[in-house]
């Protein structure tokens, strides 16, 4: 790929991720759903504190337990829940800020771009609760017209025990 192409792709990818983050932060969850491919896999395995010799078991594997292991149907349920005034963990709603950074294009295959990025999801709710989740995401963005659809999001948190009352926000 020529430098000019790479710079353009980098720009497109970053703009997509920033726009997506802005939708979540603006609580425009239904619009966010519109960015997802029908076959999306949205997954956050469980991470564990292990010794250097046991790093092969640091994350749970696909098919085992996870914090998120969602297809489109489950993400739609999460959005319906966020929209319901009876989701007590989000009413009053959390305030979130998704900081997406260190965006690197890891591969391009056909119409799919694999993107690695770091994130800091700052979530505060009520008057005194503050949660911060930092981690790495591996996304697969699939070309759709002049934009992308999110076809895969694998989220690797840096926390092991989740130091929060819940994770009612989307990553």
């Amino acid at each position: 790929m020529q430098l000019a192409e790479r710079v353009l792709l980098q720009h497109e990818v970053e703009q997509f991720l920033y726009a997506e983050a802005a939708l979540l932060d603006a609580r425009r969850y239904r619009d966010w759903l519109g960015l997802l491919a029908d076959d999306i896999h949205y997954w956050m395995p469980i991470r564990r504190t292990v010794t250097v010799g046991d790093l092969d078991m640091e994350f749970t594997k696909p098919g085992a337990m996870a914090y998120f292991d969602d297809d489109r149907q489950l993400l739609e349920m999460r959005v319906k829940k966020l929209e319901a005034s009876t989701a007590w963990s989000e009413n009053p709603p959390s305030r979130s800020r998704h900081l997406v950074t260190n965006v690197r294009i890891a591969g391009v295959e056909g119409d799919e771009v694999t993107v690695e990025a770091c994130f800091h999801l700052y979530r505060t709710r009520l008057n005194s609760e503050v949660d911060g989740w930092v981690g790495r995401r591996i996304d697969v963005l699939r070309r759709a017209g002049d934009s992308f659809r999110l076809a895969r999001r694998h989220i690797f948190l840096d926390q092991t025990v989740i130091l929060a009352t819940n994770m009612s926000t989307l990553f």
């Binding site: 469980i46 564990r48 337990m65 349920m77 829940k81 009876t86 963990s89 819940n166």
Partner: protein, 455 residues
């Protein structure tokens, strides 16, 4: 030392017993926030009772270990060369350093990272740097092994430990209700824990999490959004007028929906194969009908329960035995929740997949049910610990004095009624008895037998 003059508080037997009014079902809210009561709980409940450690399937090989807790004391749970599972306090006998700082792993021995003391998988001290040169051989290794739990035992592969040498044997401690609770998990045959324990911290008192598991009153309201989002249909499993409660010695209980007796009689006439076929016709992909053998594990009445057992103090069993949740105390206003998913080893790949899918999305911090529990429990702790709010009695009076315990021909005790708070009252009543007893002898002598009449 006279009773009530302990270093960690000035709670006399009478003052502890008065914290829960069992006749009216009113709890003193200090029970949910007071620091000195919390310290006393660590001593008189967690260090004294049998605590859930793991399921044997989590430690298949020699040297496999995980770290768990007895109260706030860390313990290493490890399988040694002889195949035995040991429970060892995770503190070096030298200067107290933690031997294991990982949550789980594989070890040949446990070497302290401070000065290099080395312990075997059975806790024996097997190496001390400078033993000859610096200690001049003047250190008795035999007497400096890791401190072991006083008793370790298992039922259906579930391993428990207690720090109390005078605690009753595990099967006596569990009694019929505790055994029925674990039987709910083992009813479908030998099980294994799926890899990955979901863990998070909720800013609530641990007992708020425990009393909630008996609470089928909150389900409709607290979890309204799990229903409206399409994740579950609460009306399908709640059965508000078909509830069964079993109360067991030392605070164990089971509470929730139950199979009507007439329907269970029909099921009892079916073979295991017919039951499997029948389950396929029921809504939901993870609904199971217990096989014949289940009655042996849960009792002829207990086998009807579709509710929630709690093994006192802090092990919840749910989803008909597919999940277990440990509620670990982290201070009067903080609790760590650990979620285990447990499936039969012989389950079909499809059942296994469906079970994991449901379990991953029901509970845990991102669970469509539990997100809202965390919010309610933390605010119930916070909003009830002020000077004025803390002085209000906590209301647990639903159905008090309105029901009767039925005693079956085989001696099983159960209450059949509508949604109620019997098990919550039993929890706090038992809690006062545990707290007021200075040792196991006193607890044995003074704890309430399981009720057999009006409740």
């Amino acid at each position: 030392m006279p009773d009530g003059e302990r270093a960690n508080g000035s709670w006399s037997r009478a003052s502890l017993m008065s914290l829960f009014d069992r006749e009216r079902g009113v709890l003193d809210r200090r029970v949910l926030s007071d620091e000195s009561l919390y310290r006393l709980e660590l001593e008189r409940i967690f260090a004294r009772g049998w605590n859930f450690m793991c399921h044997e399937s989590q430690l298949p090989n020699t040297g496999d270990y995980l770290v768990n807790y007895i109260g706030e004391d860390q313990v290493i749970v490890v399988r040694d060369e002889s195949g035995r599972i040991n429970v060892l306090l995770n503190t070096c006998r030298h200067r107290g350093n933690a031997l294991c700082r990982a949550e789980q792993g594989r070890a040949k021995s446990f070497v302290c990272t401070y000065h290099g003391w080395n312990y075997g998988l059975d806790g024996r001290l097997i190496g001390v740097p400078g033993l000859k040169t610096y200690y001049r051989d003047d250190l008795d290794l035999e007497r400096h092994g890791l401190v072991k739990a006083a008793q370790v035992d298992s039922h259906l592969g579930f391993v428990f430990a207690t720090m109390a040498a005078d605690a009753p044997p595990l099967s006596d401690y569990l009694g019929d209700v505790g055994l029925a609770g674990l039987g709910m998990v083992g009813a479908f045959g030998e099980v294994e824990v799926i890899d990955g324990i979901q863990k998070n911290v909720i800013d609530c008192n641990w007992k708020i999490a425990v009393d909630n598991l008996f609470d089928w009153y909150h389900v409709t309201y607290s979890h309204a959004s799990a229903n409206s989002s399409g994740f579950t249909e609460i009306a399908r499993f709640l059965q508000p007028n078909q509830q069964m409660v079993m109360l067991g010695e030392y605070g164990h209980a089971i509470s929730g929906p139950a199979m009507p007796k007439a329907r269970q009689d029909q099921i009892d006439g079916l073979s295991d194969e017919q039951r499997v076929e029948m389950a396929k016709t029921l809504p939901g992909n993870i609904v199971r009908i217990r096989p014949k053998a289940a009655a042996g594990l849960m009792g002829a009445e207990g086998v009807r329960s579709l509710g929630h057992p709690n093994i006192f103090p802090n092990l919840w069993i749910t989803l008909g035995g597919l999940q277990m949740c440990l509620r670990l105390p982290r201070g009067p206003s903080s609790t760590e929740l650990w979620w285990y998913t447990v499936v039969p080893k012989n389950a079909s790949p499809e059942f296994r997949r469906q079970a994991i899918r449901f379990c991953n999305h029901a509970f845990g911090p991102a669970g469509l049910f539990e997100q809202d529990d965390g919010e309610n429990w933390s605010q119930s702790t916070r909003a009830a610990r002020g000077v004025s709010s803390g002085a209000i009695g906590h209301h647990l009076g639903m159905g008090v004095g309105r029901d009767r315990v039925t005693v079956s021909a085989t001696g099983e005790r159960f209450i059949e009624t509508c949604i109620n708070e019997h098990a919550q009252r039993w929890l706090y009543r038992s809690w006062t008895e545990w707290m007021a007893a200075r040792d196991w002898a006193e607890l044995r002598a003074n704890h309430s037998p399981a009720p057999t009449a009006a409740v």
